[in-house]
């Protein structure tokens, strides 16, 4: 990793002005009292343990809630009883929409859910949107922009807001879930959380344990791309996918 960027030359003077505007002459040395900052890694771990246990205990109820909030937020929700059914649902969606070119991420979930096989049986051959296969920024971008449909997994799905947390990394391009006009996200039951609080508690712990070596970038996808900028008329599908599908395994 490249060295830490340097401090901006104006930083010290800027902070000094802020401090004197606040009527203080000395910098603050002790962390101000803020509950969610104070909890250290051990306590955060304890907190996350209860979060995980609670989510486990209430899993089936939370899955139902996710399906409800998602439908209300214009997701097309499909529930599959097993991996095989999930794979055929993906193929069905692609077939019904007349999809010709499809990109997917390279994630472990596709080892369990064989969409490559199910898609080929309806005449669609998925391309994997990942380096090794598409050399360079330009090629990957072109491929993503040309595709009619993208399929990826998620890291978490939050029932409270029907938000899918997608964390780009090796094998998971940012554009896979953004550029194609149609998006299918595959969700496994263990990934479902009740609330935003649960998600951020886990995110904080992950960061603490990885000592900063976690992703610098992630997204919530909580519905179709939309705008109401012209005459306050809701229009679906501007820069992102206008048609979004959630396939829940369970």
């Amino acid at each position: 990793m490249s060295p830490t960027p340097e401090e901006h030359p104006n930083k010290a003077a800027f902070l000094l002005r802020v401090r004197s505007a606040l009527g203080r002459s000395e910098p603050i040395v002790h962390m101000p009292d803020h509950p969610s900052l104070k909890s250290n890694a051990a306590r955060q771990q304890e907190k996350v343990r209860t979060v995980v246990a609670r989510n486990q205990a209430r899993r089936s109820r939370t899955l139902d809630r996710l399906a409800r909030t998602a439908a209300a937020a214009s997701w097309n929700v499909r529930r599959a009883s097993d991996a095989e059914e999930a794979a055929s649902i993906v193929a069905e969606i692609a077939h019904d929409a007349g999809v010709k070119s499809l990109v997917r991420s390279a994630e472990d979930i596709f080892k369990r859910v064989d969409i490559d096989g199910s898609l080929r049986s309806v005449g669609v051959s998925p391309a994997i949107l990942a380096s090794g296969r598409s050399r360079g920024r330009g090629m990957l971008r072109d491929m993503a922009f040309r595709a009619d449909m993208g399929v990826t997994g998620v890291s978490y799905a939050i029932a409270e807001t029907a938000s899918c947390a997608v964390i780009p990394r090796r094998g998971v391009a940012r554009l896979a879930s953004l550029a194609p006009p149609r998006l299918v996200l595959l969700i496994e039951p263990e990934q479902v959380l009740e609330s935003l609080d649960d998600f951020f508690a886990i995110t904080r712990l992950n960061r603490m344990q990885a000592r900063g070596r976690t992703a610098n970038y992630f997204n919530f996808i909580s519905g179709p791309s939309r705008t109401a900028d012209i005459e306050q008329t809701l229009t679906i599908g501007v820069h992102g996918p206008g048609e979004v599908h959630m396939v829940i395994l369970g």
Binding site: L15, A21, P32, S163, L178, R226, H239, G240
Partner: protein, 489 residues
């Protein structure tokens, strides 16, 4: 910095009031926002827990402001640890220079922008254009505004005053598209035009809704996906953030992400939330290789310094105070003359720009208090407006904007009210002077008195009674008589 036209406030509001089309759009949109917000809060939380959330959010933001130097330092360290660059700009000129420098160093030709109010403050589009760099707004509303050469009409609905016909005409002119009345089609035209730009651009500029100190995470709240494009497609990402955007902890976002979209558009959450704290990792498939976060003061220090005004910096720019304001609902956003409009515009513009130029803004309110009731961070807007009115009238010479005539008038008033004999003398003089302008018991116009003629131009002033109470008392009432002609007119 973007030009401040707030001195035109009265004229511009008059124009807006006479614009029928605009009045129609305002009625329609404001009603929609107000209703959607009320419904979602009612269905998801109810008044009591919503109130508790507002209280907690206000406390977090206020405490962050009280320790702002500490938290800015924390953000700086976190972002640099993530591999990003952090800058501190005192004003618009410095911020523009920083962005321009990054662009030039990288030979940038096209910049795509996702919505940023700070960049509006900076007027950066002009600066880039002057250097031969093409800035392209990618939020549909902002894009329309950019093509029209205007400023945003509303914080979250920048082009709400434009009809589909006007948008179609703009697209015909600039994109050479066919005329259409179909809004969906218009969106497709914009999408296609912007897709090309996304593929070309070397640099993306975004704003920031929140900046988390402990992790150095910038959170963007969008619906269209342009925020994701801006932070995914180009090689360089620059974030422009007002220095008040900081929240201490990543877990605080749960609260703020509940408050913001509900207050703004009445949504449970927006379609996208993007969280970015640095450049891509080498192993990532795509994403910017450089990440730059520019903190901008540009007049915010004036708000921070004033202990009463400080809370204005808690603002999360949801727009709820605009949507609920009886004044904004009638005059819309352009009359306020700068980047921020409505109640929040009326309180931040005078302090951030120039008290004298923006002196009318603190008076653009009925002080009904609705803004305070809907504000997700509980800013006591009416109190701040009164504080500003006080400053306009009595502040030090740099802030005071009253004319010498007004001061003379108020001075005379003051001395007269303290002394009975002087009061009677002045009252008699007033009776004489106003008599020629009195119709039906009201003073209609006082053309000779410039300090009050503005006031009487739109108001009638009850004329002084022909005989003062003191005279009546002396001549008739003191010895127990009833007045001969009562309150004669």
């Amino acid at each position: 910095m973007a030009e401040v036209k707030s001195a035109e406030f009265k004229k511009a509001s008059g124009r807006a009031l006479r614009d029928e089309k605009l009045q129609h759009a305002l009625d329609h949109v404001m009603e929609h926002f107000v209703g959607a917000r009320a419904n979602i809060i009612e269905s998801d939380f109810g008044d009591e827990s919503w109130e508790a959330m507002r209280t907690r959010a206000a406390a977090i933001k206020q405490s962050t402001l009280e320790h702002l130097d500490y938290y800015l330092d924390m953000v700086d360290r976190s972002v640099r640890r993530n591999g990003g660059h952090v800058y501190f700009a005192d004003d618009a000129a410095q911020a523009n220079a920083i962005v321009l420098d990054i662009a030039k160093r990288n030979g940038v030709k096209t910049v795509i922008k996702s919505k940023s109010m700070v960049s509006e403050e900076m007027g950066i589009n002009h600066i880039l254009e002057r250097e031969g760099i093409e800035p392209v707004e990618t939020d549909l509303g902002e894009y329309i505004i950019q093509l029209a050469g205007e400023t945003p009409f509303h914080i979250i609905a920048p082009a709400m005053h434009k009809t589909r016909q006007e948008v179609s005409a703009l697209f015909q002119q600039w994109l050479k598209t066919a005329p259409t009345q179909d809004i969906k089609r218009l969106c497709v035209y914009a999408r296609d035009a912007l897709r090309e730009k996304f593929a070309q651009a070397d640099m993306g500029i975004s704003g920031a809704n929140f900046v988390v100190a402990e992790t150095g995470t910038v959170c963007l709240v969008t619906n269209e996906g342009n925020g994701r494009m801006t932070t995914s497609a180009p090689r360089i990402h620059v974030v422009l953030a007002g220095m008040e955007k900081v929240v201490p902890a990543i877990e605080d976002l749960a609260l703020f992400l509940r408050l913001l979209p509900r207050s703004a558009t009445g949504q449970r959450i927006t379609s996208y939330n993007t969280f970015v704290g640095g450049p891509r990792a080498p192993s990532d498939e795509d994403g910017p290789e450089e990440f730059h976060l520019v903190f901008v003061d540009n007049g915010r220090l004036n708000l921070l310094r004033d202990e009463v005004m400080r809370e204005a910096l808690r603002c999360i720019r949801c727009g709820a105070c605009l949507n609920h304001c009886p004044v904004y609902q009638k005059i819309g956003g352009h009359a306020y003359g700068w980047v921020y409009s409505g109640p929040i515009g009326a309180i931040v513009t005078p302090s951030m720009t120039n008290m004298k130029v923006a002196r009318d803004l603190p008076y653009a309110s009925t002080l009904c208090g609705t803004c305070k009731d809907v504000c997700p961070v509980k800013i006591d807007i009416p109190r701040l407006l009164l504080h500003l009115r006080h400053k306009v009238a009595e502040g030090d010479a740099s802030e005071r904007s009253t004319t010498w005539m007004e001061r003379l008038f108020v001075g005379q008033w003051h001395s007269a009210m303290r002394n009975r004999r002087a009061l009677e003398g002045k009252a008699n003089l007033g009776r004489l002077l106003t008599r020629p302008f009195t119709r039906g018991g009201n003073v209609r116009k006082l053309p000779f008195a410039p300090m009050v003629s503005g006031w009487t131009a739109s108001r009638d002033f009850p004329a002084p009674a022909p005989r003062s109470f003191a005279r009546l008392w002396r001549e008739e009432l003191a010895d127990g008589n009833t007045p001969a002609n009562g309150t004669e007119r």
